[in-house]
């Protein structure tokens, strides 16, 4: 524990604690939410738009549902959104980047020009277009964001592979007759996959932020499932008079995105230090 704090620094450790807390909240949502039924979507018309109070800590929404419970349930959607977006993106981007970087030549040219096309779009716009075409929904919004996300991993993986491929030890393996699949599995994938996975883990924050923007636009998961972006949007009609409706989920998004960013910085600094020392 002490060692971890030392390695991540104090801000990094706090960020890690916050991220861990959110993960726990997502897992335990039905047990810790004060009003599990409302969290899952059941209306509670007798308590519409109430300000924060002892019984409703963060107030209620226009259907009288406890905002805290909604936020707790929304954690599940947001975190899975973030995770699945980077997972899908990694699943497409890593093989594309590996193939382009390792084989080079026309394979590289074709794959990277294709990637260029995806990168030519301002990212959110392509996501909006995709989401609109696929229609709203949980999986659709994830696919829509992943479509704009994977090219970055492809580029990253390719750049890593290009460096590795030029490494004399990889060339030595090739010259001693080691087959392509074996080189990729034994030398390239471990050295590329690991930094890329770390990067992806840290991208869960920004990915979740993008997904929140989509659901704010009405392109995310459909009600009554709780979703932070959609809550901010729904609360906009009652803003600023019933400020808590939008502000509570908005703050939540900000806090988790901030935690991921700070954690990412802490890890990057640590990694940078290590690689410099070994060079």
């Amino acid at each position: 524990m002490k060692k971890l704090v030392h390695r991540l620094g104090i801000p990094g450790s706090i960020a890690l604690a916050i991220v861990t807390l959110f993960v726990l909240v997502a897992i335990l949502a039905p047990w810790i939410a004060p009003y599990p039924l409302q969290g899952a979507g059941a209306p509670n018309v007798i308590a519409k738009l109430q300000p924060p109070s002892a019984s409703y800590w963060l107030g209620t929404d226009h259907l009288g549902r406890d905002i805290l419970s909604r936020i707790i349930y929304g954690t599940r959607v947001s975190l899975t959104n973030g995770l699945l977006i980077v997972a899908f993106s990694l699943l497409i981007g890593l093989p594309v980047g590996l193939a382009a970087g390792y084989f080079g030549g026309w394979i590289d040219e074709a794959l990277m020009r294709g990637t260029d096309v995806f990168l030519a779009f301002p990212a959110l716009l392509l996501a909006v277009l995709m989401a609109a075409a696929l229609g709203p929904g949980f999986l659709n919004s994830i696919i829509a964001v992943a479509v704009t996300w994977w090219p970055w991993y492809a580029r990253l993986a390719r750049a890593e592979v290009l460096v590795l491929r030029g490494q004399p030890y990889v060339e030595a393996a090739r010259l001693s007759g080691v087959s392509h699949p074996r080189i990729i599995i034994r030398h390239i994938l471990p050295a590329t996959g690991r930094p890329l996975t770390v990067q992806a883990a840290l991208d869960v924050g920004p990915a979740l932020l993008t997904a929140a923007a989509l659901s704010f636009l009405g392109l995310g998961i459909l009600p009554p499932t709780a979703d932070w972006g959609q809550m901010v949007d729904a609360g906009r009609k009652f803003f600023p008079a019933r400020w808590w409706y939008s502000a509570m989920p908005g703050m939540t998004i900000f806090i988790i995105a901030l935690a991921f960013s700070v954690l990412g910085d802490a890890l990057r600094d640590r990694k940078g230090g290590a690689s410099r020392a070994s060079a």
Binding site: V117, L124, L125, V128, A132, A133, G250, F254
Partner: protein
Amino acid sequence: MELLRYILRRMLLSAFVVVGVTFLVFVVAQVVPSDPAALYAGPRPTAEQIEKARQELNLDAPLQARFATFATAMASGDFGISYKSRRLIAEDLRAYLPATLELAVFSTGLALLIGIPLGVVAAAHQGRWADRLGSFGSIAAVAMPTFFLAMILQLVFAQWLGILPLSGRLSREIAISAPLQMITGFNLIDAILAGRFDVFGDALAHLILPALTLASYPAGVAMRLTRSAMIEILERRHIVAARALGLSEPRILFGHALPNAMGPALTVIGLSFAYALTGAVLVEIIFAWPGLGRYVSEAILAKDFPVIAAVTMVVTICYVVMNLLIDIAQALVDPRVALS
């Protein structure tokens, strides 16, 4: 010579990308949606209406023929008709594009003006409190959801302090009683051209909040990139060499380090501009800004695919052109770029 070859190569690549973009937009807008004809035919269409729409939209033609039609139409600036309003999309774009560009350019400038100097200061004070504070500020700016920031700014500056307008692009009185003649479509410039300084002030006041919202994220990114670029540059051997040659510190900082930071700074411009273009979708809804973002978000709700496709095309081409210009500028400030 190298430079010319480089520019030609970049242009060729951009042209290819535009073709690819067109294809992708075509696929997403015309192939993925389940039944465009039903949408085109209007609410609760009859079978005949749908059949008629299919023919009008040429949906029964083979895919490559449909793409050819789509691409030629796009190339000639004919974006078709909106499913919903039945208006010519090209005309709508002409009205909305300048508003979005004005917002994008202004917020990009704002982001650079805030982010780059802060990055330089943080790099110069690396590890000290100014750096820590600035770095945390930049992380917070990057982590803040745009749509939420917009609402907070509205609350503070329009509702509580009441010093800036809540939304819109011009005050109603001006828009109705003495409308501005559209020349460039940029209100700020048109106001100056017309000598209407009251309008200029009004337009500026309306611009500040949405532009500030849009500038927050790219300013954070700009600060971080500038900071790390400056730190890296200041450690380079030729900077050490310049010290060993007895050059003064200001000369080293501004004459030797800063020119090397121009490359990263240009990258930041590109990123900021891209962000401003897309963030517009979110910001324009909240600030009721009559631009492409609001236009497209309305189209999304109506599943108005020709509009969505047209906006995506136009904005993406703006972005591609911007990137091309930045790449060329990169080669001009750093002659090595053209060689790679």
